[in-house]
Symmetry: D3
Subunit: 243 residues, 6 copies
């Protein structure tokens, strides 16, 4: 099985972090291909950044389909372009890491908290929790206020502190890390706080594997059918899809 992990942030070092996290979680017979789009913002920290990351993500999904990928993980906690990507993917699973992390958290216990980078992204996290059905299970979205590209050991301590804070609240059984750049923090923070700490990249790899092995394709009819062919103008002309 070949899983393409797309880093919507166009920062190669972050892609490498993500790749290591994905490989560590993959089954022995799964090939992880971590890629960085050729256009888009260096990091995603708001709705604007996310919107402009989407064309690059879609290009990578189209390329992945051509090159034989069996499924896709979108490694940004806003799950940018996920529905659009599904129209391109022809039934191959496309899972965002917010979606993946929240699903595993829902399986791991009753309630979870998200610990993320900047507070300005919390609104998007709540929107996704709503859309995925987890408004009641997601109890808090806490921010360490460290920008995506500055995540380091100091930030990891802040994340652990916020995780502890959330776990002392009633009903929070696990922590979902709110940024792909936190992929390698999960194990250490989990040991430190004594509760499940979930990296969405690892979760996404496992969920794509689960779908493929269970013979469950993603929907590819109606809403998720291939985009209708049409004229594009301007910088985006290259995006025209054929029937």
């Amino acid at each position: 099985m070949r899983i393409r992990v797309i880093n919507p942030n166009t920062s190669a070092s972050m892609t490498e972090t993500i790749r290591r996290g994905a490989v560590a979680a993959a089954a022995p017979d799964t090939v992880i291909e971590a890629v960085t789009p050729t256009m888009g913002p260096a990091s995603i920290e708001g709705h604007y950044d996310e919107a402009l990351a989407v064309p690059g993500v879609l290009t990578e999904v189209a390329r992945g389909v051509d090159e034989g990928a069996d499924g896709f993980v979108l490694a940004c906690f806003g799950d940018p372009g996920m529905d659009a990507a599904r129209e391109l993917a022809g039934g191959r699973p496309v899972i965002g890491i917010a979606q993946a992390g929240m699903h595993l958290a829902a399986l791991a216990g009753r309630g979870f908290a998200v610990v993320t980078t900047l507070g300005r992204t919390a609104g998007r996290a709540w929107d996704l929790a709503d859309a995925y059905g987890f408004r009641a299970k997601c109890r808090e979205v806490l921010a360490c206020e460290v920008p995506v590209l500055d995540l380091d050991g100091v930030a990891e301590d802040l994340v652990a502190d916020l995780a502890k804070e959330a776990l002392t609240h009633d009903g929070v059984d696990s922590i979902v890390l709110g940024c792909a750049g936190m992929a390698e923090m999960a194990a250490r923070v989990s040991r430190e706080v004594g509760a499940p700490v979930i990296d969405g990249v690892a979760a996404g790899v496992g969920l794509v594997e689960a779908m493929v092995r269970a013979g469950v394709p993603a929907a590819s009819r109606g809403e998720y059918a291939r985009p209708r062919p049409k004229t594009y103008v301007g910088l985006l002309e290259g995006f025209t899809v054929g029937e």
Copy 2:
């Protein structure tokens, strides 16, 4: 007051239809500026089209802010890029026509139905109804299955038929038209079905006016603060914003 109405579909004739609808609904002292982005798909009929319309929409919002617009209407029923646009708009209202149409429908009665173009867009309409708080008030999303650029008199008859069908169901008090290209259908269909039929473009103009006159800016802090400056690569490099 100057309201910029942006047609996310890059089809000039559709922009002209939208402009006429907006002008008809505007107060005497409101100037309507209807614009077509220079990049993006000719029409929007799914998540992929919508995602690729967003960069063009954002360019027009940035230009509108520079040129003194007091508020924006996004004239596509998927409200593409609305949250991202708000980060650029510095407190000027940015209202999508799905949001506007659903808000007026919520004020006009207990329940409403959306009558739209292609059935594949219904999922997006439901997502927006959810996000805006109107899941319980939106009772049905019906599709005439006419593509956006083929809307004509025949389609108008189909829309009227679907509207009548919806009005016979319990609790539907009004109809929201699910495409900016239907802007000029509202009056005739309303007469034909004997109930409120709401064009989101007219609704959006009125709601921007209401906010500006009531002295209610949009939020421009936290989630909706100006995007953080950062490096962009590829075709989207031109989108870099300054502090």
Copy 3:
């Protein structure tokens, strides 16, 4: 356009405050007619007061229809008698200021708080947030514990303090003032707290204008059809409606 603004509290000085707020928000070609019912409690601070304000409100709606009003704003944050008024109004918009304020807040950002007079009215505010679809967007209802007829500069400071408190909580983008008697506080408090502060009277005027200009009548069939004629007894005999 003629908009009748009805003050359900039978206090003329309060009606004058409301009138000034409404006029300030109206379009140049809109005529504001602010009226005080001839029966009912001097102020509304609970369910009992509100229930007994309704007959006076309905009398004013009936009179407004006869005298050519194009729409109505009910200037009490409990939106008293709104559904009953709609049965009388024959498709003319009837909007309460809680409804109006919450709708504009929903357009202005993700979440809002209500700042009101007495804490005992908070339950009604929550009921209305629920009914209008804004349970998730309304995050707090805070009370300054100043009675309606005692609102003054000191109360305005308390309101500003509560507004600041609410804005420091996660996700509150704007403040909705919870009493018509606070109409003139909005501008100053907004400047002081640096965020949108919404007066429902101004919001209501703008929303009635938006509906009328967009050609969107309120529902007037079924649930909102004219009341069935019937016999009344006692003090309420004068209310009998003809077919």
Copy 4:
């Protein structure tokens, strides 16, 4: 125990029907006092009627408190004035028949349908189902389209037909009768359809008894404290309450 059953409709014959239903359901040591207000509409078939029934209901609640009633049942399916009545009742239970009927239906099975008089009242029934927490349990509101004062044996057949229709739908375990005037239909319709058919008057009597015997007063603080004394003008002057 003395339970005052107030018929918000000012029709004495209907009060007698209600009284018989209440007596049949009461415990041997409970005294039923069924009363008709001295003001208000002959029957309640919409929001306007309901609003104008409230002053008469409140007068009867005040009188009942003075005369030693232990609790109140409001015998109209719109539960008119219930919150206002609670402010007067000083902790004595006040239960509307929609509330009572829906509570017993929620105890009797998974889902229920309401069968009511006129379709124009369905919106109110849904509002109440929402407010009481039973939106998911209330599956349908069906109307026989017989006015309240015309309910007779023919209407009973229509009610039975609608009940049967609802019971064939997935998940409906019981029927709630949507009008106090249907009180005496419950037993026969239940036998005919082979499922629980619930009269709200009987249900309300049982629930007031349950609260009193279990030593559970209604709330009488904060929102439900006695109304604040204030000036009333016009026909409603008599309603002024003292501290």
Copy 5:
């Protein structure tokens, strides 16, 4: 009327406490039969305990049906086996004390808090609040952290303290006691905190009485029809039911 109150905890002294609470709340013509199952855990303090209490509860329900009981109260706040018991009860009401307590709290005011024994049972309380429709009315579940069989006067003080704490929060009008072992605390704690404090056993007795007197059987078709006869193996063989 004969009501069988089943204590799912197999501790006879607790059954006696429950019996006294039930008798005190019952109407004069109601016979209370409090029983202890012959198998199961001594006390119920988690999902595992609850699951293993169910076979004993079901045995008692079957016995009660044979011996002429008119209805059942399940006196453990997890309402263990309630749906299964209803399949056996042939239309006789079966009400759990969480269900009963929450229903009376919903009738007594706007919001309530549950005060329970161990914090580990709070998740079950929330699940039941959800299932019964009271997620919005249940504001808090607080635990005194005293095990079920250690409840005494000291625990009662802790419960009163938690009740006071909850009542100072916005919107909590009453307290629901979260354990059958607290049955006799209700009156004293209510006096101490000055608000309704609800014992589910008393509430359950009243609700069974209300259903029986109102002629409202529980559902006994479809989902709640008698269990299909089948083969059982192992220790549970004795549970086989006949057609």
Copy 6:
């Protein structure tokens, strides 16, 4: 990795069907151990059956923990005893097949339908959809009305017919099979209806694998801590757990 798949129905032939489905979906390095409890009903077709299956399931979970299982799948669509099992499992994932099937369906598209055996089990399916967050995504629960132990080729045709019926409804993207006995139908029915058809057993295996590989244990604190040791009486004495 060793996954124990427990068939709560005590029918060995059904366990064999389940085992084959689980093995087919497992990764190459996963060992599947399918077991049949030594007590309980032959098949589960209602709340009563399910309640009596739980003790046998818990025995198998305890045994699995002792014997080194890494996770558990409960192969009955009512997910019987799942919360209780988690208290025993010490952080090892325990996933029911309703939970698993619904989670994969939520990842596969916008909406799904459940196709199950007997209609009387639909209520439980809805309860689980609610509890897992999928009330809005689960659109229909359809029953073929074939008992669990009679599932065969004819039933498979009925299931395919119901699946087709559901897929023609708006918004249903996939089908979740509502019984472990349908495990081997998924592939053929999927081919026949041209959409994802999900077997919960395969889904459950994949989700346990995803959790284990991603290093995400289940919660094992608070609500999910080991049961408190206590005395058991009667047939259930053997269930006493040590500290």
